[in-house]
Structures are given as C-alpha cells and as structure tokens.
Amino acid sequence: MTIHEPLTESSASPTNPGTPASSGGLTIRGLHKVLGGRTIIDNLDLSVKAGELVSLLGPSGCGKTTTLRMIAGFLEPDSGSIEVEGQEVSHLGAENRPSAMVFQNYALWPHMTVAKNVGFPLKLRKMSKAEIKDKVEAVLELVSLLHHKDSKPARISGGEQQRVALARALVQEPKLLLLDEPLSNLDAKLRVKVREDIRKIQQELGITTVIVTHDQEEAMSMSDRIAVMNAGKIEQYSTPEALYARPETEFVATFIGSMNRLEGTLDGGLITTGTDILGIRPEDVILADAPFAGAVPATVERVVPRGHFQEVYVRRADAQLRSFVTGEPMQPGQQTYAAIRKAMTFRDGRLVAEPGAAL
C-alpha cells in the first residue's frame, strides 16, 4: 500500500511517513476521575511518544475506556492535564480537540453514504467540494474501500464499516488517533487481518495512536508499548516483550499470557513451602521421556488439545504444573519427567526476583 498525497500534504500534522513529529505526542499528568462516588481513574500519568502506538489494556471496569473518553473530550476529568503535542486540551470540547476517535461500534451515520460519512469532518472545516472529494477518495483508497463510496453503512460488512470509521478518523489528519476496542465486533479471522491493517496504516502515517482493548493478544501484536491498567491505575507500562518477560506485578503476570501460580519457593528446581508466590510460564515447564538435569518424575493428569500445541497438566511430588507441548501427543497416565526452567517470584503482589534460571 502506498501513501497518498492528500494525506501527507499538511505540514502541521505528524503524518509524514518515517519522520517523527516535532514534539510531544500525548502527555497525561495526574488524571483523576470520580463517578458516582467511585474512583474510576486514580492519579494517572501516561506519556505517548509522537508516532507511537500505545494500548491501554485491562479487564472491564479498569478505567481504560474512561481514560480514552477523557482524552477524546467526551468526559471531563476532575483534575489533571492532557497535552497533545504540547497543547493543553483538557478544557476543550471534543469538537475542538486535535484527536479523532474510532468508536467500538463504528458509529457511522446511517443516513449518509460512506463518502458522506468520511467527508463530514472536512465539510465542517469548510473545505471546497473538490478538495473534500479528493481527500475522501484518497483515504478510502488507503483503506481499500473506494468501490463502496456510494454505499450506505448498512449495506457493507462489519469489517468494511470498521475501515470506514478508521477512514473518517484519518481524513481529519488528527494529531492523535484514538481507537476504542476497534476489533471487538469482528470475527476472529477478520480481527487478525484488520489489526494488521490498522498497524500498517498507523506505521505508514506515523500517527500517534492510543488503542483501548481488553484483548492481550491484540495489544501484544499491535503496540509499541502497552499500559496495563487495573482499578484506575497503570500497573505497568512497557514494551510487549518486557511485559511478558518481566511483569512487575502479579496482576500483570496473570493478565498477560498464562502462568502456573504456586505458593512457595523454588529451591534447586523443586518447589518448597514458603509464603512467596511463584509464577511459572507454561513454556518454562520442560517435559521429557527420559530423566535430564533438574527433571523430576511426573505423571500426566490431563491433556487439552489447543491446536498448534497441547496443554498438559502433570503432577510432580511437589506440585501440579501446566506445560505447553508440541510434537508427539501425550496421554493421561503417561509417566514423564518435568523440570522448571525459570520462575518469577512475587511478594505482596510485586516482582521481587527477576525471572532467573532455576537450574
């Protein structure tokens, strides 16, 4: 996909591919919101670099959508500041902010055609008809929907509606693109494709983007950085790799990927009693037919086929462990040897020991 001139013309917007915008991106300081006597957002700080794609990831009710709505201007924060490219926006209404949002259910206007939907923001900016037409067609081409420009939203598929919503946001050449659960209404296959499309377009335009999602796989595969949210706070803000390899809290470790959660201490490859929490990723539980260094005899208790791999529950003398196994299918009752390659140690919910080798 190539980049189209009308979208890159504006020198004020950070949409020139490759070159990061002058300064800023998004900076949030001390954001606070109480709704109905309950603290929804608790003194939240977040900074997104220009051209970066950041996901707000967390379970429902963690405040991620509330945060996004405050960035977009639909909700007024009780206190705190929101800066987009160095400009304080928290006192502005949604219509005056330099951000554009893609809504969860797309929010396309049913009485307007696709082209009218996408052109509406430009019409509001008092552009000439010819200019609007050019820009709308360029952006529809970018999302490969030019052939549907005269269709009504009800006549096109969910994936196409989603791309129209994206086009309507992109055509505004926003300094900040906001996406609220953009993929949650699509089926599994389409979701993978659309998230790749979104990432590709975002990279091409170099547009600062914030995505709200509850789907860790979605966040991991699209984001430069992920802010894992819990109870109105950011638990950890780092790259997808770091989030998985070095989760700072037990919450993050449980939320991202899966892990064996055991109480005790890892001592010479064996789990002994203790008050710490051990987090062992399933891929760090190694199974083999023959004894090997650090391995302990184990019995296969349960096998769950997961397609590309098997989820195998084994019972050792010290603990029950879950492992991901590829290759030869295992059978319940089968004798095997299991070793723990590495483990994370949490105390009071926080990581105290780097996941080091246990062997």
Binding site: F74, E95, F103, A107, H111, R168
Partner: protein, 287 residues
C-alpha cells in the same frame, strides 16, 4: 397449531387439505369478508352516493347519475371558505405544534430533569378528560381573554389536541438516536447545534414525520372545539360538515366527505412512501 419439529411438520404442511388448513382458510375468508363489508362497503356507498340523483329502495344502484351535488359544493361560497380555513389551520397547527413540542421532546429524550416523568405523563391529561368538558372550561377562559371567534383561539384548541403526538413520538425518536453517533459528530468537529441538525434531526425525522402527519390529521378532523370557539365566524370542513348533514340532502354530505378525505389519503400515501422508502428502511432495516 403446534408444529413441533423439522421433517414431520414440513411434510404435514405440504399436504393440501388438513383440518388446520381448512379452519385457517375459513377464518381468513371471514376476516376479509368483514373488512369488505364494514370498511370498503361504506366507502363504496359514499362514492356512489356522491354521484346519485334519486336512489330508491330496494334498487342496488341509483335511479339516475348526476354531478349536481358536486356543483352545489363547489359553488357554495361557505363551503369553499371552509375548505380554505381547514387548509390554513391544519398546516399552521402542525408548524406551531412542532415549534413548541419538538424542543420539549428533545429535552424529554436527552435530559434528566426533576419532574420529567410527571410532565411526560401529564401531557396525556388533555386526552384523558372528555373533550367537550375541556372545551367548555376553555371557552370560559377564552371569553375572558377575548380569544373567542379568533384565529388564535382556534389555533390554541388545535395545538392542544396535537401536543401528545408531537411530544411523545418525537421524544421516542430522539431517544432512539444512539449517543455515540452524536459523539462521533462532535469528535469530527461539529458544534452542538450542528450535531443536532446533521445527525440527530435527520435520524429522528421519520418519527417526527409520523407525528406531523398525525397532528395534521388531528387538526384537520377537529370539530368540537373549533365549533365551540370558532363558529360561526370560522367554519372548517369538519364543522361545516355538521350543518351540511342537517341542512342539505345526504348526497352533499357524501361529496363533502370525499373532499374531506382527499388530503388525509394523500398525506398518508406520501408519508408511507417517505417512511418506508427512506431512512427508516435504510437505517433500521424495516422493509
């Protein structure tokens, strides 16, 4: 008829004449016959009557045909004025009612204010009491305010009769516009007024049109209040109808009812085309 599961039921419905089918056909036939006799019958009689000279029992058709009654109606100055009055009061009523009620409907749909439910329910008050009682007390008030036999007085009576339609139906239509469609317009850079004119109003329009049509018909057919407040200075088609039935041969009343029905029928057809062929069908997938 209890059809349980797949294949046996399918084969049963394919068989030509079961007891179910016979009963169903008889019931449908009976229903159609009743419709014809009680709805189409009087209309047919009306249509024939309007062109009948003399029509004596037990003849199925009139003894002779004439256009005389149409001439009587068209040439009668009073009737012409009645038609003019009706065609003035109905649209103006709709307009005034819309100006007063639509903002209220929007407020009922979008804002939660103290007494919201009370006001919404109390709109029914005008329809809850016998109309004549309401109009008699209204007349007393109108004498005091010098509104008797004035255009304004008649408009007040007509608008009162449309308040429920013009508030409840558009309120439901406004409430049905998803909030995030409005938010999306705000996000695109639209002012609150622009959001209303570009998104909220067009999406609520089918409901508003239905309300306008019902208000138009209510105003067009309003007779009691108009008679009390307006007669004899301002006669509309329905009030003129009363004197016609009493003072002229029945044929004239037949002609007049046909004339009275024309705007209503035309309006219904137009509304039907617009609503079922327009956005309601597009956006809400009603076919």
């Amino acid at each position: 008829m209890a059809v349980a599961t797949g294949s046996p039921a399918a084969s049963r419905t394919r068989r030509p004449l079961t007891l179910d089918a016979i009963v169903r056909n008889v019931l449908v036939g009976l229903f159609v016959a009743l419709m014809v006799v009680f709805i189409l019958g009087p209309l047919l009689w009306l249509g024939v009557r309007a062109f009948a000279g003399t029509w004596t029992y037990p003849n199925l058709l009139p003894d002779d045909w004439t256009l005389r009654w149409w001439q009587v109606v068209v040439n009668d100055g009073a009737l012409g004025i009645a038609v003019q009055n009706s065609l003035f009061f109905a649209p103006v009523t709709v307009l005034v009612s819309a100006v007063i009620c639509l903002p209220a409907a929007y407020a009922f749909a979008r804002f939660d204010f103290p007494g919201r439910r009370f006001f919404l329910i109390s709109l029914f008050a005008t329809n809850a009491f016998p109309k004549m009682g309401l109009f008699v007390t209204l007349a007393a008030l109108f004498y005091a305010l010098n509104l008797m036999n004035t255009v304004l007085g008649i408009l007040v009576v007509h608008v009162l009769g449309t308040v429920v339609f013009m508030t409840w139906i558009p309120a439901a239509a406004f409430a049905a516009v998803p909030r995030n469609l409005e938010e999306a317009a705000r996000d695109a850079g639209a002012s609150k007024l622009r959001v209303f004119t570009s998104v909220t109003l067009p999406m609520a329009l089918p409901g508003i049109i239905v309300a306008a049509v019902m208000s138009f018909l209510a105003s067009f057919d309003e007779a009691q209040g108009t008679y009390l407040v307006g007669a004899p200075a301002f006669m509309t088609m329905p009030t003129q109808m009363y004197s016609l039935v009493l003072n002229y041969p029945t044929q004239v009343a037949a002609v007049f009812s046909i004339l009275l029905a024309i705007p209503s029928v035309a309006l219904m057809l137009a509304a039907h085309k617009h609503i079922l062929g327009g956005q309601l069908a597009e956006g809400f997938q009603i076919k």
